[in-house]
């Protein structure tokens, strides 16, 4: 009972970190080009994530999508293991946030669970084939696919339009970024709903085979929306400013590429990570515009972050599962340590704050064009 309550609390906190980690996917480019004011952008993203969470409540029957051999004949994923996995996921999400790295929250969750299950049930409980085919290979393909599409979209946009027209891409960016947010909401809040529902079922508080309760949907939607509104400014800075300097046409092209890739992948059965798609798109658009340069060092850091996300969160998850295996005091120690880690990370983050105020300065030449203003007024 206590464990189930803890799982719910941690799952919601994970949902929150998921939200603020992923604000950048949709909103880094419109903020970077000035298409949306930073606070407005995160507010739109938050609302659309909230809406998205309600639109789709198709919760996966297994948390891991077959990654862990669950159910009859396999391991019983107990609430204690879920708890340990969540601790791994949360700690890693916060570490990457502190470093400003856009890493996949799903990977962090899977990593944490893998670590916890290996300690709890042995390495045989992990389906290596699924790990490779559903996570590792898509993780390599996602950025390249999105990068290629974004590259071509950028080329098209720049070949059709003249320089003075390109500022108007900002208007389009408002819609494309909104679409990415909504798509994110329909996907990501479901993971937490699934975790909580499975914990409730495992704890005997809900009948097996039933969907999420209304309150679960509501709290998950709110948690991800609040997280999104809080805004992972560090990650927005990395994607929006760190990889390449983005012009409105590029932002539009990158978001169209992101949206198209995510929608195509979720609806045609080859799931790709939103975070990796969005980062790949930004790199692609940087390569696609003449005169733009991609900071490959930053891109390399991001790639390295993706590479170690699963092992790192697995390590934390494994440690948490080991402690939890010691009994009630172990679980308490787990939660105390996790809380301490979260506190330390927040205190560290205060040393060099990054928030919405960092984005009000326009990039030189990026979006102040008085000429356009006059024309818009004259035209009506």
């Amino acid at each position: 009972m206590l464990v189930v309550a803890l799982v719910i609390a941690l799952a919601l906190f994970f949902d929150f970190t998921n939200g603020f980690h992923d604000t950048a996917n949709a909103m880094a480019t419109p903020i970077a080009t000035g298409a949306l004011k930073p606070r407005v952008a995160v507010a739109i993203a938050a609302v659309l994530n909230l809406v998205g969470a309600f639109l789709s409540t198709e919760v996966a029957q297994t948390i891991s999508g077959g990654l862990i051999r669950e159910g009859p004949g396999g391991v019983q994923v107990t609430p204690v293991l879920i708890l340990a996995g969540l601790i791994g996921a949360i700690v890693w999400n916060l570490v990457t946030w502190l470093l400003g790295l856009p890493s996949s929250s799903s990977h962090a969750l899977f990593g944490g669970l893998i670590g916890a299950v290996i300690v709890g049930a042995g390495i045989g409980a992990i389906d290596g084939g699924v790990l490779v085919s559903k996570i590792l290979i898509p993780a390599v393909l996602a950025p390249f696919t999105a990068g290629l599409i974004s590259f071509i979209a950028t080329k098209i946009a720049y070949s059709i339009t003249k320089k003075r027209e390109r500022d108007n891409f900002k208007r389009g960016q408002v819609f494309t970024s909104a679409l990415v947010s909504l798509a994110h909401g329909t996907n990501d809040a479901q993971k937490t709903m699934g975790v909580i529902t499975l914990a409730l079922i495992a704890g005997g508080l809900q009948k097996a085979g039933t969907g999420p309760e209304l309150w679960v949907i509501v709290v998950c939607a709110v948690a991800i929306a609040v997280g999104t509104y809080t805004g992972g400014w560090r990650i927005i800075k990395t994607i929006g400013r760190g990889i390449t300097d983005i012009e409105p046409a590029q932002g539009f092209a990158a978001e169209v590429a992101t949206t198209a890739t995510i929608l195509a992948s979720t609806h045609l059965g080859f799931a790709l990570s939103t975070t990796q798609v969005a980062s790949g798109s930004v790199i692609g658009t940087g390569v696609g515009r003449k005169g733009a340069s991609v900071r490959w060092k930053t891109a390399g850091r991001i790639a390295l972050g993706w590479l170690i996300t699963i092992p790192a969160s697995a390590a934390v998850g494994a440690l948490a599962a080991f402690l939890a295996g010691l009994g009630l005091w172990g679980i308490i120690l787990d939660v105390v340590l996790a809380a301490a880690a979260i506190l330390v990370i927040f205190l560290r983050s205060r040393r060099n704050r990054v928030d919405h105020r960092d984005f009000h300065l326009p990039q030189p030449g990026a979006f102040v064009r008085p000429k356009k203003r006059k024309k818009a007024v004259a035209g009506g």
Partner: protein, 68 residues
């Protein structure tokens, strides 16, 4: 195993969708830039087509619209 054919379909669909959207929006911008009287309605028309493509995207995202 990896479902390569699904992956290829995803790439092609995403590429075509992104290409169409960007082309429509860019052309709308290009056409809208000028004084000739035919330009404005054509430009608006292209924006509308663009909007329809996005609306189709929304339709795909929201299961409630096509599930039942």
């Amino acid at each position: 195993m990896i479902n390569w054919s699904a992956f290829v379909v995803v790439v092609v669909v995403a590429l075509v969708a992104a290409g169409v959207l960007v082309t429509l929006f860019s052309t709308a911008l290009r056409v809208g830039d000028g004084d000739a009287p035919w330009r404005r309605p054509v430009s608006v028309g292209l924006y509308v087509v663009c909007g329809l493509v996005v609306a189709f995207g929304l339709y795909l995202i929201i299961p409630a619209l096509h599930a039942g």
